[in-house]
Symmetry: C2
Subunit: 409 residues, 2 copies
């Protein structure tokens, strides 16, 4: 039955099999659809930010020299609202009412906030651009440049507004939109196929005949793939029939899959369909020193890495988390699963020579307790867990209060 | 110009305006599409998990009493593979080859793993269910129940497989699928409309005439809404025209919006379209003691809460994060923004009487440095930041090395 491969060695091997996925093709996507995608290259702004010199406040655009001695009264030569249009130049010795974001008239070099001014009845003496409308009394001097936003003061045209390799959050999309960009060049998501094998499997919800169970692995692995930023391009469930499995791998390839995840069909029974298909192609089917998830398989099929997980749903989900998720998360710019050291709420026993991954739950006191047993079929117990408790290969018993490594689910 | 409302008071007020969103309607969604949704009620499994008594190993199903004294040789009475069908009962004094997950024959009460047995050439003596095929030598005794998974041993039919209020991760979908469920009842996502106002705004990518800028707030707020687990049902951009704004709020209502976020049109200028619309309806437009984001507004329009943010993109994004995001995240079961106390890399000055939210970036040494200035138009600087630095109202200067509160972006 062969040696058991150490967990870390298998993890390294799978990582190397998946290393080709790291060189992502790129694709343009609309800015509004680019949330959580990764920039493929630095993004230049084609325009100055802000694009033109504008007012930072509602108030009056003036020449700073005209308001050096306050209070001073200036005739209001007109008004500039935010909006399209080029304002009239500011004549010396006058003021123009100006709104936040509106372009500064030529000749103006400062803005006096409305709070530092007095006019007649506020709002009644305003007209749109052009046309005199009373006078304004300026109560406080301002230096040239005050409350003026210069064109390009946030970013100059041609400078990078976003770096390469950035996972796009709303604030990054805002900066791209402000730069007038409609598309961003991002890395393509990894395209994954998920194939469940086993003659006992039926679609969830189908009437169960004796000996049949709903396929949980298809749903679980597809969701896990999406959770790690990749995309599922093909999903299938096949009975224990090598030709059917081969047809699904071909369909996955046709759908553009770059990686195939299978579940089932790799242990030591008589009907091991993944084993039967991949061993003649040079694939590896063997045993890893872990529980659950001992049986594991790897192959290449028509250029696609195929990672074969055991059929037990806890084994399949855990194997994905250990061997595939780290690579997919790294490609998607997602944080890796968090780890913590927690105290055990109760003693436990483990199997020597294998790394045990027990399902656990944080108790109210911050300690961790085991949920369910070690059985790799305990899918409800896994759902009730929030951490994995990692028990090293050399450890067979642990006392209550012992500190264990945990991985957040 | 009115009093400045304290930040925390405005936050409480907006939270109370949004409290009606917490009572979510529910909707059924396919299990495979339920990732990251929130269960509306506890989910019962209609079936036992596992659904039938089955083998935990590839090996031989036996009566434990027949293998009490080992080694012992038993005739192989047949084979049970995983898959549909009811196996023949096990005759006393015989063994049946059995695969992992296959139903245990009536009469069998233990499974001996293949590793603890010897047969002839492995694999050559196997036939499908029924039909004798040689003998097996059992090398190790097993008690009744060993390597047998009892029906319902993970979860009994009628028990809750998932609790209410759970944010669905892949392992939860796996348990639902294993229970044969095809749909889950989840909370509806909050339906939000995003309306940018300002005659200066054009769609990102449009040719800019003088005085025009691309609308960044629409993209930013829509993405921020999605990031907090809600859904955008209506997006619009209107010039400073009350009738146009009213028409968009009506359209938002028709699209099922439960919440409207506006940007712009609430400061002290002459063309403040949100102010003009909502003040006659009893809405509030005022000033909050913060920078950026001082001007804020709230209203109800045809039963929808309307939260009005300033038009400057940094103000709008920050206002969303402070006042709306916490409620949406709580409804979606998402973690709140992380906070940390970090040391300042350089001294800074702030404005007394307002809570200042400076954009910051963690330096290599773990300290935090300010990015860009305090200007609320610095959208590229915000994009280059990874934290907000919070400077309390009473603080006007801070030395390098001072410890500040930060909020992760």
């Amino acid at each position: 039955m062969g040696e058991r491969i150490p967990v870390d060695e298998h993890a390294r091997f799978v990582r190397s099999l998946l290393s080709g996925l790291g060189a992502r093709p790129t694709e343009p996507v609309p800015v509004a659809a680019a949330l959580d995608r990764i920039t493929a290259s630095p993004v230049e702004s084609p325009i100055d930010l802000p694009p033109f010199r504008n007012s930072q406040m509602d108030g009056f655009a003036v020449r700073a020299a005209d308001i050096a001695d306050v209070p001073v009264e200036l005739p209001i030569a007109g008004e500039v609202a935010a909006g399209p249009g080029v304002p009239q130049p500011l004549a010396p010795g006058t003021a123009v009412r100006i709104m936040t974001g509106a372009p500064l008239p030529d000749g103006a070099d400062a803005v006096v906030p409305v709070e530092d001014t007095e006019t007649g009845a506020p709002g009644n003496d305003t007209v749109h651009v052009g046309g005199a409308a009373g006078a304004v009394r300026i109560l406080r001097p301002r230096r040239a440049g005050e409350y003026v936003r210069e064109a390009g003061s946030d970013l100059e045209a041609g400078a990078d507004v976003l770096p390469a390799g950035l996972r796009l959050a709303p604030r990054h999309l805002a900066a791209a939109a402000a730069s007038g960009l409609t598309e961003l060049l991002v890395r393509e998501r990894v395209r994954v196929a998920v194939v469940s094998t086993g003659s006992e499997l039926v679609p969830p919800g189908a009437e169960l005949r004796p000996g049949e169970i709903p396929d949980a692995n298809g749903v679980a692995l597809a969701a896990a793939v999406r959770s790690t930023g990749a995309v599922v391009v093909h999903e299938a469930r096949v009975r224990d029939d090598v030709d059917r499995l081969r047809a699904e791998l071909d369909a996955a390839r046709d759908a553009g899959a770059e990686l195939v995840l299978t579940s089932g069909g790799i242990s030591k029974g008589a009907y091991e369909v993944v084993r039967e298909l991949i061993e003649p192609l040079g694939g590896w089917v063997g045993s890893v020193a872990m529980q659950p998830g001992g049986p594991q398989a790897t192959a290449a099929y028509r250029g696609m890495p195929v990672i074969g997980f055991p059929g037990n749903p806890v084994s399949a989900q855990l194997s994905f988390e250990l061997f595939v998720a780290p690579t997919l998360r790294a490609i998607a710019g997602l944080p890796q699963a968090r780890t913590a050291q927690l105290e055990l709420a109760a003693p436990l026993v483990s199997v020597g020579g294998r790394r045990q991954f027990l399902r656990g739950r944080r108790a109210g006191d911050g300690r961790v307790e085991v949920v369910g047993g070690p059985g790799s079929h305990l899918v409800a117990a896994l759902a009730a867990s929030d951490v994995l408790i990692v028990v090293p290969e050399a450890v067979e018993t642990l006392d209550a209060g012992a500190v264990v490594d945990t991985v957040e689910l």
